[in-house]
Amino acid sequence: MAVTSAADRVLDYDEAVAKFDPVMGLEVHVELHTATKMFCGCPTTFGAEPNSQVCPVCLGLPGALPVVNEKAVESAVRIGLALNCEIAEWCRFARKNYFYPDMPKNFQTSQYDEPIAFNGYLDVEVEDGSGGTEIFRVEIERAHMEEDTGKSLHVGGSTGRIHGAEYSLVDYNRAGIPLIEIVTKPIVGAGERAPEVAKAYVSALRDLLRALDVSDVKMEQGSMRCDANVSLRVRAGDDPRGDAQLAVPFGTRTETKNVNSLRSVERAVRYEMSRQAAILDEGGTILQETRHWHEDTGMTTSGRVKSDADDYRYFPEPDLVPVAPTRETVDELRGTLPEPPGLRRKRLQSEWGFSDLEMRDVVNARAVELIEETVAAGAGAAAAKKWWLGEPSRRANAEGQDLVSYAAGLGFAPAHVAELDRLVTSGRLNDSMARQVLDGVLAGEGTPTEVADARGLELVQDDSALEAAVDRVIDANPDIAEKIRGGKVQAAGALIGQVMKEMKGQADAGKVRALILARLS
């Protein structure tokens, strides 16, 4: 049995990267969110009753034949173009033959030596070590089309794995969902930043796929999955991108599967580097194998020993005709590409006048689109950022949701924020009143105006009450009034506070200040 219960020895990360240079290869599987499956007309809805979205084709019944989903090919071409790939003029599907119960035909219809897209790159942003950012280019080997397998559920075991399970159930709803597998070329030159580069790459890829609107890219639901190949070689020279280092042959790699969050991508690469370093440091050798990532323990465990002799007996799929997108089609699809997320971000940052740090906060909060829409609805960028990154963000975090889905779930829209901002700039609400209104809106009490009306929140526009309050406070504080008359303007603060108290907060502090100074000039 290959599974080990005891933790593997790991080398301290700093020591590991001082001695060894990492090489990575990242394979990302993306489920396309086409309405129907890759080779049949079954729907692709996530979370449906098991085995309710199946037909003779995706169940692999005798006699059934596949037909390519044109929409999926279109998505594949768009992904290829967005990754700066060449698009094949002619390519075929291939059968990858192996037996597994969740694979209805016992072969996966995939692509082998003729991928739809190849030779591209994705530029990702990483920290440059001195507070700024720099671009790291990740080269793309290929992006190819294939079908997903069914999903096995192992019942009765302690870990949910097949070992020790009493029986297994298979749900074929997922069988035949279109997948695009995106494979990088070996990523060299990242050095100690390899885990960060891995995370940045998957993150940038996710943003890109989201912008392309081809996939839900929900790593937690498995619509985007990452396998991380990691190997180490000895360090040569100080520069991980130097000629001396690049001349060193690659070491033996492991493939870590089941890495299903951005944070895990970083952690898994880091862990695997430390683990391999410990073995190599002792003069041991790395076993070429598949390893499983465990989110809870932050470790990988040995899976199946893999060798280059793993033989899938690929051959061209005879049930399908070649895919040959015309150059006209490719050009048309190129025209549908969105602005690359990186460039778009730079453009918005400059339009909004945010600092790098502010923009990073916005991106991390997944608020770029929300702010963009809020600005479009008439709000200022700074106000939009202030409101979105305040209470809504805090609550979304507390709920463990991302801001977009949290707001969508509440029906809280950019238009609401823009309206709130309008109420402030028009002078109807002050800042603390606006916060109360926001609370009300988030509690589902209505639009900002409705909430303000219902709660009776409005800055007092009739100055007589305010002037009376100012006079009362001045009369009650002759000492302070005298100081102000004497030129100590800053002493006005004490009086402003009292006036606001008298007015129960429903006054504009600026106006109060002006009134006080006018009375005492």
Partner: protein, 508 residues
């Protein structure tokens, strides 16, 4: 028309049905009676659906009585090869592996047959998963040749050819991966066509070798074959390799039976040594008859045909090894638990089931194909075979620059005795030597009776091959030859076959 409805051709039955001089129930019942009388001897059906066939017949009779205009073959019964899925009817492919499996869907061909209003009498026997030339590899026992019950009816579609030749159905469907329609037709004195690859949908045909498989019609006359061809064919969006074009004008060609001015090429490599003298003699006579009818005949060389058999036995097993992987006991069909293991794993159940469920020939080809596709061997075997395939297609292309059709004997010999070649796979494979090139190139081919061999009195066949999508040429030549031979013989070839279960038929 013959008073015995089972002796009538499909075209005759269609006319009689259309004129309401007979009913579909009568025709269907006559065939069911014939099945009951003789199939005990022939063993051509694996499953007979009397109830379903009669229900369809009744429905058609009612619709006709109501004045509805119906398709040509409405009410004419048919037998379906057991490799085609039939909703609600067993589909075993001659294998234990699928014993008891009832498909939840119809093959496109079956859908067409139902839409044409044709009662389905039952499912016909075949070599397991269509691997064989004799039906001896059927897990349910061999079918027998109505000309001599000790001999094979050809394969893999021996059930369909035997059904036709023994008057248990006027029409039957077949599939032809390397000759499984044409060779059975040749050895039973019947007609069979393998259409152009893509001419008939493969959706719902349990795949043997996807790039070679093609469904087609089996009948006793060229016209009947054409009528069924027309029903089976046509574009199917469910089959990506289906040709998006109308069915070629096969019925018209069969009716015109005109070869005047046609250039016919005799393939030098498909004849001579290795071909039985009686087969050669009847072939030469048939060619002479075509010349009499105005055709021009030349000899044509297709040098790469010599490598066809070798290439075929790499490509077919390769694709078959993958196509048959789905039979793993997980979702349908047979499930066998390994002996002596308490809690077997899925892999152990798969292995035990495949061991018990597949016959020797199937295992042989799975092993061959698995080997041929293995890394390190792929280029030498599968890769080379694909190159040969291209060369064979080029041979055809060059030949068709000079001639309109090619001809050869369909099979090198007449029907051999049951058991004769069972232990010699190579000898069995050689039976398809003349039919395989058409599958490799995707071109259409037909077998038409050319007579009986002097030495054994058994039927012989001539094969006609045409360029891709020119299926109608097969019917022009086939029908002209059929007419010429009928004039010479004075009666159809099957009138020379011995009577089967004669007493029982009379008593029926």
């Amino acid at each position: 028309m013959n008073t015995d409805l089972t002796r009538a051709s499909a075209a005759e039955l269609a006319d009689a049905l259309a004129s309401k001089s007979i009913s579909s129930v009568e025709v269907t019942q006559a065939h069911l009676d014939r099945i009951a009388a003789v199939d005990g001897q022939v063993h051509a059906y694996l499953h007979v659906d009397a109830e379903g066939a009669l229900a369809t017949a009744r429905a058609i009779d009612e619709r006709r009585a109501a004045g509805e205009s119906l398709p040509t073959l409405a009410g004419v019964p048919i037998a379906v090869k057991d490799v085609m899925t039939t909703k609600g009817l067993p589909t075993t492919c001659g294998s234990r592996m699928l014993e008891g499996w009832i498909p939840p869907y119809d093959a496109t061909v079956v859908r067409h047959i139902k839409a044409a209003g044709m009662p389905i009498l039952g499912k016909t026997n075949m070599d397991e998963f269509a691997m064989g030339s004799s039906t001896e590899h059927s897990a349910y026992g061999p079918s027998r040749n109505p000309w001599d019950l000790e001999r094979i009816p050809g394969g893999s579609g021996g059930g369909s050819s035997a059904v036709i030749a023994s008057f248990q159905a006027p029409l039957a469907t077949g599939t032809d991966t390397g000759g499984s329609i044409r060779q059975p037709a040749a050895v039973t004195g019947t007609v069979g066509t393998k259409p152009t690859y893509g001419g008939v949908s493969r959706y719902g045909l349990v795949a043997l070798a996807s790039s070679l498989d093609q469904a087609g019609p089996c009948a006793r006359t060229v016209l009947d074959t054409a009528l069924l061809h027309e029903v089976m064919g046509g574009h199917d969006p469910l089959d990506s390799t289906s040709i998006d074009a109308p069915v070629p004008p096969v019925v018209e060609a069969a009716r015109r039976a005109d070869v005047a001015g046609m250039r016919i090429g005799v393939v030098k490599e498909l004849g001579g040594e290795g071909y039985q003298p009686g087969v050669r003699a009847r072939f030469d006579e048939a060619v002479a008859l075509l010349v009499e009818r105005g055709a021009e005949v030349v000899e044509v060389s297709c040098p790469n045909f010599d490598y066809a058999l070798a290439a075929y036995y790499l490509i077919l097993p390769s694709e078959a090894s993958s196509n048959l992987a789905k039979f793993d006991a997980m979702r349908y069909g047979m499930r066998v638990l390994p002996e002596g293991i308490d809690a077997p794993t899925a892999e152990q159940v798969m292995a035990a089931t495949r061991d018990a469920g597949f016959g020797d020939e199937v295992k042989r080809r799975i092993i061959l194909g698995t080997y041929a596709l293995s890394s390190g061997y792929y280029d030498a075997y599968y890769g080379s075979a694909q190159k040969v395939r291209t060369l064979i297609a080029q041979d055809f292309a060059r030949a068709y620059e000079k001639v309109d059709v090619l001809v050869s004997p369909t099979a090198p010999t007449t029907a051999f005795k049951l058991g004769d070649k069972l232990d010699d796979p190579m000898a069995m494979y050689l039976n398809d030597i003349a039919t395989i090139p058409a599958n490799l190139a995707g071109v259409p081919g037909m077998s038409v009776p050319s007579g009986v061999a002097d030495e054994d009195g058994l039927p012989t066949g001539i094969q006609i091959l045409a360029p891709a999508t020119k299926d109608e040429r097969l019917y022009s030549v086939g029908a002209a030859l059929e007419q010429a031979l009928l004039e010479r013989w004075g009666a159809p070839i099957l009138s020379r076959a011995p009577e089967l279960g004669a007493d029982l038929v009379k008593g029926a």
